[in-house]
């Protein structure tokens, strides 16, 4: 029996709007949380605040100019995105980059994976509530690698260094020493962050057993990258569908056991170590030689055809579906965004948790809004 007084105390669920400008949304993501007290009972994600037509614009510029939209789309792992785009064009054009260019690409892509994961760690730690200290630690290490990129390409973020067929110019003389030094420094840096975060009891209790997603669900939602590997599925395109020269290197694929937020964090930490391993092996094996094929045409005209090229980016499977109907410009260029697919599972992960967990779970997806909205 409900008394009059109890009826007056009826509670309502309120909608809390997080974003598009909110410290936790890593950009301009917006989600409307329906909360009952501190529990989230429903979440409606809204994206598209940064939809700026990279696909449409790529159709209107030629193949070399289209590279700049790859940088700006995947703005935390630019080299990986450039690599995917270049390989898609190469597959259609029948170009084969020379050995040295392949090694340079692998080294830069793996270093870029490290910088991207550093960015994740910084932002994720801030989501769990660390007052910028993990962020500055991660950014210090990130800057070391970025200095190499800067010295090599002339820009800190939008490199535009790869070309269909190879790379634009050769690496400087001190490249190998600098990369070797940075590999050592990265190992130290990861250990630093390990000591700061990984074994911190509060951090563990914040991340453990939240945002769990099972393996069948992960496949069903089309998750990829560390999100998928945290569920225990050792699927990595570098191993399962080797592109470029990834089959020449020894590296481990870390997988999680629980599929929760903490596993995603650990998988990313371990991936950084494996990336360092790959970079070191690639430095050992890197031959001398040309960086562009001899017969590379000055103006790329692709034969008609369609190709879906995919690479393993820090956030998952990055795909370029390229339709050519002859000519200098792509007829259609679709960017398969790992973040977009990873975000589809957001509702299943968040509902039932606390508001504070919602922020952490969103952080563990490691979204890049440029890639989600394109």
């Amino acid at each position: 029996m409900v008394t009059e007084q109890e009826r007056k105390l009826e509670t309502i669920d309120i909608n809390v709007n997080v974003g598009p400008q909110h410290p936790a949304t890593h950009g301009v993501f917006r989600m409307v949380l329906t909360v009952s007290g501190e529990r989230v009972v429903d979440v409606v994600p809204h994206i598209g605040y940064m939809h700026r037509g990279a696909e449409k614009l790529s159709e209107n510029v030629d193949y070399r100019q289209g590279l700049i939209y790859q940088d700006r789309t995947e703005y935390l792992a630019q080299f990986n995105a450039e690599m995917c785009y270049c390989m898609a064009v190469e597959r259609l054009a029948g170009l084969e980059p020379p050995e040295r260019a392949q090694y340079i690409r692998i080294i830069l892509s793996e270093l870029n994976r490290i910088t991207s994961h550093y960015m994740f760690i910084g932002a994720f730690a801030t989501d769990t509530g660390v007052y910028g200290t993990a962020f500055t630690y991660a950014f210090r290490e990130r800057e070391y690698i970025q200095e190499i990129f800067d010295a090599l390409t002339g820009d800190r973020m939008m490199y535009g260094y790869f070309r269909p067929g190879g790379v634009v110019w050769d690496v400087p003389a001190d490249f190998k020493e600098r990369v070797r030094w940075v590999c050592g420094q990265t190992r130290v840096g990861i250990d630093d962050i390990d000591r700061l975060l990984t074994t911190n009891e509060i951090f563990i209790t914040r991340c453990r057993d939240i945002g769990v997603i099972s393996r069948p669900d992960a496949i069903d939602y089309g998750l990829s990258g560390p999100m998928l590997r945290a569920c225990g599925l050792p699927f990595d395109l570098r191993r399962n569908d080797p592109y470029s020269i990834y089959d020449r290197f020894e590296f481990d694929i870390p997988t999680g056991t629980h599929g929760d937020v903490y596993d995603r964090y650990l998988v990313r930490m371990e991936e950084m170590r494996q990336s360092v391993r790959i970079v070191e092996q690639a430095l050992e094996q890197m031959p001398d030689g040309p960086i562009m094929p001899e017969k590379a045409p000055r103006r790329l005209r692709l034969p008609p055809g369609e190709v879906y090229m995919r690479t393993e980016n820090p956030r998952g499977e990055y795909g370029i579906y390229l339709v050519s109907k002859g000519g200098e410009k792509p007829y259609r260029l679709k960017i398969r965004s790992a973040c977009l697919s990873n975000l589809t599972a957001l509702k299943q992960m968040i509902v039932g948790h606390y508001v504070a967990d919602a922020v952490v779970i969103l952080g563990s997806v490691d979204i890049v809004l440029g890639e989600v909205d394109r």
Partner: protein, 370 residues
């Protein structure tokens, strides 16, 4: 001369100039702590902190203060006007009142109350009202959630705070702060009450809503909590003034009742300059420790915050009281305080530590290369 002396002996005049001194001290402390925090956290984060405003940026807090005072004082159209405008003062006044009973040296405080400790705890508990009113009046959901969290948090953590102080006052046999400090001339109470000190500091950090207990203001969740809608002078009262004054007051209290205050070591012998140095050093150490924790720890979740208080701190506080009672009733020697309290702290720490999931990296199953 005697006329002048008589003038200053007047109760009202005496109270007035002492109040003025405390007010000036408070403003100075707030400005200094703002600067110290930014510098200190900057160094922890491998940055320099403010450098350009004056030599080493020492005028940074003054610039901040002048800027904030001249900012537009916005009030949301849908806010409750009276409550919105009064809430900052509701939060600030209790904090200021706590400063009145703190003896900064052996002979100098605004008032020495026999129930000083009780007065301090009672008055400082009122701060939560200001936050609740601010959060409710802002008519923003973030502010409301933040205010509800603040209410739950501050009221819960008041309990272990009071119980830890209660256990200590059993030792001293008094609630008079001067008497408590005088009791520690030989050994500061932290030696005899390590568990009590831990409880007090944990509750104090939570009382200050600092990391790891800053769920109320959680920047990445509710973007500032109750004071999200405040700007200009009201924001500075609600946030900066209240927070830093509260931090200063709690750390002064902790150094008085646990670290021996102005007495230990040799305070009474060497006179008031040494007492001031002692107080400054102890208080500053505690403040820096709080800032250090603030800079490095993640934030706990709301339910973890509550269970930490009710399931861990509260039983331990009762245990401390019980142990003190045992020692006092059976007239055991003083060192048994240290043994009982310390052993309890170590056991509790060990149990909590082992029940938490350590050895975490072993969860990763790495597939080796083919």
């Amino acid at each position: 001369m005697s006329q002048l002396g008589a003038f200053f002996d007047n109760v009202w005049v005496d109270a007035f100039w002492r109040l003025l001194v405390v007010l000036g001290l408070m403003v100075f402390v707030v400005l200094a702590l703002t600067y110290v925090e930014r510098k200190f956290i900057g160094r922890i984060q491998m940055r320099l902190g403010p450098m350009r405003t004056g030599p080493y940026g020492v005028f940074q807090p003054i610039a901040d203060m002048m800027k904030i005072l001249l900012k537009e004082d916005l009030r949301p159209a849908s806010a409750d006007r009276l409550a919105f405008e009064l809430a900052p003062f509701l939060a600030f006044v209790p904090v200021f009142l706590t400063l009145l009973v703190l003896p900064f040296t052996a002979r100098w405080s605004v008032r020495v109350l026999d129930l000083g400790l009780l007065y301090f705890l009672a008055v400082s508990g009122l701060t939560v009202l200001g936050y609740i009113v601010a959060g409710w009046a802002s008519d923003s959901k973030y502010a409301l959630i933040g205010a509800m969290r603040t209410a739950a948090q501050l009221i819960s953590y008041e309990v272990p705070l009071v119980l830890a102080v209660l256990a200590l006052s059993m030792l001293a046999g008094s609630l008079n702060l001067v008497a408590i400090v005088r009791d520690q001339g030989r050994v500061p109470f932290i030696i005899w009450q390590p568990l009590g000190f831990f409880l007090f500091m944990a509750a104090a950090v939570s009382d200050l809503t600092r990391r790891p207990f800053d769920v109320a203001a959680a920047e990445s969740e509710v973007a500032g909590g109750p004071w999200i809608e405040y700007s200009g002078i009201r924001w500075s009262i609600l946030y900066a003034l209240t927070e830093y004054t509260n931090m200063f007051a709690l750390c002064v209290l902790a150094s008085l009742i646990f670290l021996g205050g102005w007495d230990w070591p040799l305070g009474l012998k060497w006179g008031w300059p040494w007492q001031l140095v002692l107080m400054f050093g102890k208080t500053m150490t505690l403040i820096l420790v709080i800032m250090w924790i603030n800079a490095t720890f993640p934030r706990v979740r709301v339910d973890q915050l509550m269970s930490f208080c009710w399931k861990l701190l509260l039983p331990l506080a009762f245990a401390q009281i019980f142990l003190n009672g045992l020692v006092l009733v059976y007239h055991w020697p003083d060192w048994t305080f240290l043994v009982t309290s310390g052993v309890t702290l170590l056991v509790a720490g060990y149990v909590v530590y082992t029940r938490l999931p350590l050895g975490a990296p072993s969860r990763i199953v790495a597939r080796s290369a083919v």
